[in-house]
Every structure is written in C-alpha cells, then in structure tokens.
C-alpha cells in the first residue's frame, strides 16, 4: 500500500496535464501524527503534496459536491460507495468525476494507539503490516496494523472500490466477517439495559455536530436540529434532545449508510454512534437484502416497493 502514492501522483499529474480534470481531491500531509488533511490540487506540479498511508480515513465524498469543475477523486472502498449513493441521490453526476480507486486494507484508529501508549505520540512510521510510533517519553512502540484499525475497517466487506475509472493497484482480497456482533449484543439486552446503554453512550455528547458534518449523507441544506419553524429539538444539553438528534440523524441514514466510519472518527469525545446506523444496516440486509452504495443502477431499498417486502408494522 505504501507504493500506492507513486501511482496516485502519476495519475493525478497525468489527468491534470491532459485537462481531463480541473482538480484532484486527495490528502496532504497533516500537521499531526496519524492525521492527513483533505486537500485540493489544481496544478500538475503540485501533485507531490499528495500523500497516501494508513491515516487517510476521512471520507472525501464530502468535498465533491456543489462544484462545477470536473474532479478526480481518490476513493477507497467506502468513499466509492458513498460516491455511488451521491450519484443515485442526484448530488453529483457520474460524468463530473474521475474516480481513482484505491483498494484499501483499512485505516488506522489513532485513538486506539493513543490509548495504548504512555505519553504523547510525536512521530509515526509504517510498513505494510506495522505501525511504529515514538512518544514524548522517547519510547518506540510497534503495533500490527490489523490490531489498530478503525473498527469499521476491521468489519469492511467492500475494501475494493465498487465504482472507478482507474484502479491504483491490484484489488485486495475481501474479508468474510460477522459485521453485527456488537448490534447483536445490544439486541440481546433487556429493554432497561438498552435504555441505560444509550443514555450512557450519548452522555458525553457536546452537540458539536462533527458526526453529522463529517457524514457524506448529511447534506440537507437545513438539518432538522437547526430548523426554527417548527423547532423539532431543544438546543440545549438535555439528554433527551441529544438522543433525539442522534436517533433521527441515524434514521435519516437508513438504507444509505455504508459504515464508512466518518461520524465516529470525527467525534471529539469518542462516541460510537455507529451502533445506531449499523442496526439499520443490519435490518436492511436481513429484510430487503440491501446494501447501500454498491451500484448506481439499482434503486435503494427504501425507494422501491416489492410485494414481498416485510410489513409486520403496518396493521
């Protein structure tokens, strides 16, 4: 994977030179260990600022919409699925994009590493299989990448982009995993335990809306929490208002969420709100055989009606 960057730069330079695209959306080196910053490249001579490593977890789909230019975007498996959703939802036209697909073996969760080391991380290096960090206490520690991935990456079953104009490298093998063990664990709780679980889960929320804003699906011009007429939700820190926000935001992603992990990754207080969207995802798979963002040519489950759709709720 560490060699991907050469091809990313070469392809980006080529596309810009040929005038096939006007800009490339990718990552540049961040100022923080284990953080890269989404960036926009317009000139072929700037492609060397692009980077690719295990710290490119941010979903780039957010940066493609409401633009006129023809855009090349560097897309992991999850980015590609969100691009597909955007195409289905008429947020962007397929023709406006040149997708440089990147087969992905998962992105590193910097919080997990931070929790496992003493002191502060000052430098990070990586090989194909390992992450090496140096701390303020001068220690060097090494982790197997597979052990410190974002949880959604460990459960990913579409690591290869489903839609692309060019693949940067050979496809990687897909994983076979049970994606829903955590959902099942919550389902197995009593109703009282579940109530407690969700109250505790959202207690640290500060309503910064980083989860919503990082999510490529959350593009409503005015989010329901920001509506004044009517005002659906209180604006304070009352636990019910906070939960209402998370519950409804998740529900708005029903049948659309690809579990790209952007919400959890962005959260400054480490809330795993993915347990809500994953429940919806699980129910979509089980009831409608639907997984979001696999093909721009298939209408989503919640957009179509089938006679054999389960309808236990409606009496």
């Amino acid at each position: 994977m560490l060699t991907y960057i050469d091809e990313i730069r070469a392809a980006s330079a080529r596309l810009l030179q040929e005038g096939a695209v006007e800009m490339v959306v990718g990552f540049r080196q961040g100022s923080q260990p284990m953080m890269n910053e989404p960036c926009l490249i317009r000139r072929p001579e700037d492609v060397d600022t692009l980077v690719w490593d295990s710290h490119c977890g941010i979903n780039l789909t957010n940066y493609l919409t409401n633009r006129k230019e023809k855009i090349a975007v560097i897309a992991k498996g999850c980015d590609a699925r969100n691009i597909v959703t955007h195409i289905i939802e008429n947020k962007i036209e397929r023709e406006q994009l040149y997708i440089l697909g990147v087969p992905c073996q998962g992105m590193v969760d910097k919080r997990q590493i931070a929790m496992r080391v003493a002191g502060e991380i000052t430098e990070v290096g990586e090989s194909d299989t390992e992450i090496r960090v140096q701390t303020t206490r001068g220690e060097i520690q090494t982790f197997a990448k597979a052990e410190v991935l974002q949880q959604n990456c460990t459960l990913c079953t579409h690591r290869n982009p489903v839609l692309y104009d060019a693949l940067i490298a050979e496809a990687v093998s897909e994983q076979t995993v049970d994606r829903y063990t955590d959902v099942a664990a919550i389902e197995a709780m009593t109703i009282g335990e579940r109530q407690q679980y969700f109250q505790d889960l959202f207690a640290p929320c500060i309503r910064c809306y980083a989860c919503r804003n990082a999510c490529p699906l959350c593009y409503c011009p005015t989010c329901f929490v920001d509506e004044a007429q009517p005002q659906w939700v209180g604006k304070g820190q009352d636990a019910v208002d906070v939960m209402t926000f998370h519950f409804l935001r998740a529900y708005h992603c029903a049948g659309r969420c690809t579990d790209c992990g952007a919400c959890e990754r962005a959260c400054p207080v480490g809330i795993n709100m993915r347990v809500l969207t994953k429940k919806l995802e699980k129910d979509c798979v089980n009831n409608f055989g639907w997984e979001a963002g696999l093909s721009p040519d298939v209408r989503p489950a919640l957009d179509t009606f089938n006679l054999d759709d389960p309808d236990k709720l409606i009496k």
């Binding site: 923080q32 929790m115 304070g236 400054p268």
Partner: protein
C-alpha cells in the same frame, strides 16, 4: 510563599474544603469497556479526588463559569397567575467553589474572556458570579503536549494570570504557591500550612524548555484588517473544514452563545447555550440572507476573530492561549498554528512590499 502538601494531607485538606466549598476538578471519563478515555471538569463527589494525572482536560475549563447550557430566567404562561409572562431571574447558587487542576492556559483564557463579559457598559451576571465565586487552583505543566504552544501566546506552563494558587507535583505530594489572597485563604482553609523551602523558577524554565511548538504573531497588530480579510489563502485553509463546532466548543477562549426559550406545559425557561461561528445558522437573517454563507467565510471569521479582530479591539495580543485542543481534535486537521503563521507572514510580506 510555597507550601508543601503531603499525599495524605491532600485528601484530608480536600475533605475540609468540601464543607465550605463546592469542589470541581478533572475526572476521567470512561468508555463502554471501562477504559479511561479522557478527562473533563466535573463536580467532585464526596470523597472523590480530582485526577491530576492528565495531559489536559478534553474540554476546556470554561464550562466551570460558562456551562454549555444554563438557565437565565423562568416564567409562567399561566394567565391565572399574577406574574404570568414576566421573567424572573434564576436564583444564584451563592456557594464558593474551587476548581482544582486547571491548567495555566485555561486560567489565562478565562481572564481574557472576562473582557467580553465584564465591560464598562454591561456586566454578564451569570458568568461573573461563577467566576468570582471560584478559587482557581492551577496545575503547572511539567510535561506539556507536543501541540502546546503557550509560550508563544504570552502564557506558559507555569503562567500565573487568572490563578489563585498554583500546584506542581513534588514526589508523591504537591507544592502549592499562593498567588492571590483567595489562594492563601484556601491554603489556610485546607490546613496546608507547611512551608517548603523551594523556588519554582528552575522548574518553570525546564517546563518552558519542553515546549517546542511555536507560532509567530508579532506582525498581526500592524497589518490592515481588510487586506488580511481579503488574503488569498483562506480558500485553501478552509478546504478541508466540515464546519463542525469542535474547535469552538473545545476552545477555552471561545464564548459565543445562543439564547433560547423552552416551555414545558405552561412553565418556561430562557436558556443560553454555547454557539459556534462555524455553524451556518449562527448569522442567518430572518430573510434567509446570510452574511457568512460559505464555509470559507466562517473559517476566516474564526481565525480573524482570534488573531486579528481581538488583537485590534483590545490591544492585548491574540485570543488564543496555545492549549492546542483545536489542533488535536479537529476531525480534518486544520491547524491554527499554520494559519497564524500564514496570517503573520502575509502581513509582514505586505509591509515589505510597501517599503520596496
């Protein structure tokens, strides 16, 4: 005057203080698996000790005097009551408070924010009451984080502005330096009276030496406000921004707020809560017109406010204490240190171009 606090005296002093003060301090939050995740300021339960083994709290100490949601007034809409539709102040909690373990950067930030809430024309009673009721017990930083740049912001790991008492670790115990009368009173109230023959000068210098991250701000006051506002780098600075409120909510010097009414049946409250210039609705007019409609405008507002408008308005330096929270927790790695340097360099280049 430095006092020594032995390990067992710490707990006994705190329990003495708990009789007359409400105690607050850093408490570790725990994730679903029980692992310690990060620290925040909380009211200490009886017998609970502040957890001083931390880098810094995830959220700044501003919530101690400026809670994220706060009731300002109550009222009734019940027309059978004589005082219907008339706002009544929420009675103030008059009890004295102690905030343990506040870092010098956060204490300085509160002293700066006071300029906003305590003006010749108006005084914000909510903010000022809590601020004045609180004794701020600082915790010096002997091991600053790599993102700390407090020495560039007229602050530092042993900076005393805004603190009543400064603590630093000494073996198993602590050293305490009283800075104000409030601090001396607290030492007496806690029974921490054993003098220590120590000087913090060397420790201060050592701690300052650990801070490697720096920003340049020397040119910011000189430059032209509108030039900087129109600088060409804002589009690039803002590109990655997702317009969440993380930076502003974590920031110790951000104070913007919203006022909202909430009614349950006939009983209402007027509440105020934190707000953020990063949110589009922050400035939107009733007509739908939004003076800061794009994210670039909003990102520019945040940095211009901290690094230029504030500088020009108060002539007391930048509105940033270098705590590094926004740098560490920005989901897309927008770094105020880079932006400050861009702004500073832009101003200095503009000045040079004019001379030439």
């Amino acid at each position: 005057m430095i006092k020594k606090i032995a390990k067992d005296e710490w707990a006994s002093g705190l329990s003495k203080l708990a009789k007359t003060y409400r105690l607050f301090g850093p408490v570790a939050e725990r994730g679903p698996d029980g692992a310690r995740t990060f620290h925040n300021f909380k009211a200490l339960a009886p017998g609970e000790l502040p957890d001083l083994d931390l880098g810094n709290t995830r959220l700044s100490a501003k919530s101690l005097v400026f809670p994220q949601s706060e009731a300002m007034f109550t009222y009734t809409l019940d027309e059978d009551r004589d005082d219907h539709h008339i706002l009544k102040e929420v009675p103030a909690d008059g009890m004295s408070r102690v905030a343990f373990g506040i870092r010098p950067c956060d204490a300085k930030a509160l002293a700066m924010v006071r300029m906003n809430f305590d003006t010749p024309e108006y005084k914000d009673p909510y903010w000022l009451r809590l601020y004045e009721a609180t004794t701020f017990v600082g915790l010096a930083c002997d091991a600053p984080c790599p993102t700390c740049f407090c020495t560039s912001t007229e602050c530092g790991p042993y900076h005393e502005e805004g603190l009543d008492l400064l603590l630093c670790a000494e073996g198993e115990g602590l050293l305490a330096k009283a800075i104000t009368e409030k601090g001396e009173r607290l030492l007496a109230d806690a029974g921490w009276e054993e003098a220590a023959d120590q000087d913090l000068g060397a420790r201060k210098a050592a701690a300052e030496g650990c801070i490697t991250s720096r920003i340049g701000t020397d040119q910011l006051a000189e430059g032209d406000l509108l030039d900087l506002h129109g600088a060409d780098f804002w589009e690039d600075v803002a590109f990655a921004c997702i317009n969440c409120g993380t930076c502003t909510y974590l920031c110790p010097t951000c104070w913007c707020f919203d006022i909202q009414d909430e009614v349950f049946k006939q009983e209402g409250q007027r509440l105020r809560q934190w707000d953020s210039c990063m949110f589009p609705i922050f400035t939107v007019h009733t007509t739908g017109h939004n003076p800061r409609d794009t994210k670039t405008q909003r990102v520019r507002q945040r940095f211009m406010h901290k690094l230029k408008y504030f500088v020009d308005k108060y002539e007391k330096g930048i509105m940033c204490v270098g705590c590094g929270r926004c740098v560490r927790h920005c989901p897309v790695n927008i770094d105020i240190r880079k932006v400050a340097d861009l702004m500073n360099r832009y101003t200095s280049d503009a000045a040079k171009a004019e001379q030439a």
